[in-house]
Symmetry: C2
Amino acid sequence: MSDSVTKNKGVRPRVVIAGGGFSGLWAAKTLANQPVDVVLVDRNNYHTFLPLLYQVAAAELEPEDIAYPIRSILRKYTNVRFVLADIKKIDLDKRILLSTDYAISYDYLILATGSATQFFGTPGAAEYSFQLKSLEQGIILRNHILRCFEYASRKIDDAKRQQLLTFTIVGGGPTGVEFAGALAELIHGPLKKDYPSIDFDYVKVILIEAANSVLLSFPKMLRDYALDRLYRMKVNVMLETLVDKVTPLTVHLKDKDILPTQTVVWTAGICADPIAETWGLSATRNGLLMVLPTLEVEGRQEIYVIGDLSSMEDNRRQLPMTAPVAVQQGVQAAKNILGKINGKPASPFVYKDRGAMVTIGRNTAVAQIGKKSFTGFFAWVLWLIVHLINLIGFRNRLMVLINWSMDYLLFERAIRLILPLRKPPKPRSKT
Amino acid sequence: MSDSVTKNKGVRPRVVIAGGGFSGLWAAKTLANQPVDVVLVDRNNYHTFLPLLYQVAAAELEPEDIAYPIRSILRKYTNVRFVLADIKKIDLDKRILLSTDYAISYDYLILATGSATQFFGTPGAAEYSFQLKSLEQGIILRNHILRCFEYASRKIDDAKRQQLLTFTIVGGGPTGVEFAGALAELIHGPLKKDYPSIDFDYVKVILIEAANSVLLSFPKMLRDYALDRLYRMKVNVMLETLVDKVTPLTVHLKDKDILPTQTVVWTAGICADPIAETWGLSATRNGLLMVLPTLEVEGRQEIYVIGDLSSMEDNRRQLPMTAPVAVQQGVQAAKNILGKINGKPASPFVYKDRGAMVTIGRNTAVAQIGKKSFTGFFAWVLWLIVHLINLIGFRNRLMVLINWSMDYLLFERAIRLILPLRKPPKPRSKT
């Protein structure tokens, strides 16, 4: 293997971090300027601020607004390097991470490759659903939604129009609710102005949830508020409804109707990226890798698993798969490694829960901070501020602020381009 | 054909405009609120500000900054409709425009589908060169350049490194010069900071031009200034050099060397989109459609050809393929149609030349206005102002202004994402 990062013997221990999401990035930041060599590996050259991904899909933000080049973040840390690579295998005994054309040896390994969508074996769901787990998927979904309106603006029959203008979101968790709200605002605001030839009575945004409420992890008062607001925003919420099957043009509901729809967005489940199962580490039924309370893998205590990929072994309540958990675990894993190098015992991870927030639309959000619940304008402003502050980079903050301000003031969305997302076409020019 | 826009007999004449670039859009604007029905057809749902496309390729602007949704532009004109379609054929006798799934009848047709890259039969050029004619191509080129640096940052042999770090631009016209300058600034500024492991003495930006100077259409003083500045920016300008062949890893020069390079950007020639040849209208050797001085097609005087696609039949000096020419032709064609409806004779097109400008880099540009030549900071500020003013949409102007200001003040480029530009991957999640 010619392309490889080999270890220099006798020098500082090398920590390899697989994944540049919240957990991996914060682990790298914590290890910065410490007596270790750090290599951060990611399949993309940018970090994605996933909490705002749904706004890219709803044509509210530009993809570049929520992504930041990892090299720029790490530039100031001389002991941290970045490698663009897609991790394939781990040689646990030789302590080497392998990608298709790359091998990186490690003394400590932090696995932070995140999660994937779980379809629970629903036929057709994986093939025909859109997902919201990566920047690419966000752009694909945005393009698809706008294309549906373009096709619906033509002279077509009613059945086809119904398929094109029914948007189905499966899963009433935070992502499903936030996306349903943002989509409803996009459609009944800017798109209504853009497509005068479309009868908007045809348009349906449907949110399907298996339980008897949306936002199950929130208190009842906030759940009810969210439901009420979604109804007012013309989102058709179908509770206690299970999806049996997805086809390119329909969603089949259990014991119920068949909905004609060309757009199914699946936000209902989360599992590990299937590749993690091949690494030979013990995993849960969802493929999440099991760790000790110290975030170490039992029996392989040079390996840490953090963020969405990590599952605590001690049967405690599964931590939410959120950015705050990931950030805190990243910091803790890094601190435990630094401690171990200095001969100190590893400390168990304790999640400091600072609350949770979900925005539904204009002036409309729910927030749970400690035992206090907030709704409406105050919760919405809080949500805006927290997300703006946590964005990486001054330029991204400024761009998001401008986009949000203009959307708010003008009831408008600027980013409605159907951008190409395909291979370069065969040159059509003279040769 | 079920999907079709059929003409309502006895009502206002329908003008169909093929292409939403500068010429087509300005034709539409001129026909707005006039006693005609207008249908604007484009294969994209956005208008692209092509004069700044090279800055997208050089990671200076976001794709969304130079694109604007056509429906938003046309929204305020009740007599103008937009159709997203790729034009395939024209039935000249029945007066119908045909796309794969669409048919639009017309009374007047304005053809404004623009130009494509001309490779002059150079073997391999069409297959292995990058182009700068569409937003998609700009993003593809940006991704490729950044990927070259990622791969070059690994431990590889010198020959491979040379291929990865040699960037070859063919054609010393305005696009070639502007892109060479922007690329040199990207490389020797932000990328140098991002890739500490790369020896930047390996990096070469080569500009190949067949003639004995760059920017042939400008006066000698400005050409010499541009050449001097390019040299100072470490652009290797090879004059009187012809390209014989392009392969994935090399460029073969006539009677000269073989350059190892994985990046060839072809800006050297322009021709019509080959599909225009199939429409049965008389064309030049480059496929441009010939028109009378009134911009009408001889013998088919309900058809107008404007913008890059248009070639005057009268052997006058070929007009430059620029936005000002396109805009003025769009306005003139629209006025001639309105005149014709009122029984007035069509007026010949006269180009009002307001000058030309090319930016080379920071504080560095050339401008030719009337008989006056400008260089340096003044020309550069003039270039910035003219381009900012001509961008469509307040938000785009603001975003470009912010991006430019921050790049200028911080010697930085924010947009260095290798964004996916491929089909959605097969879902990797559990099904």
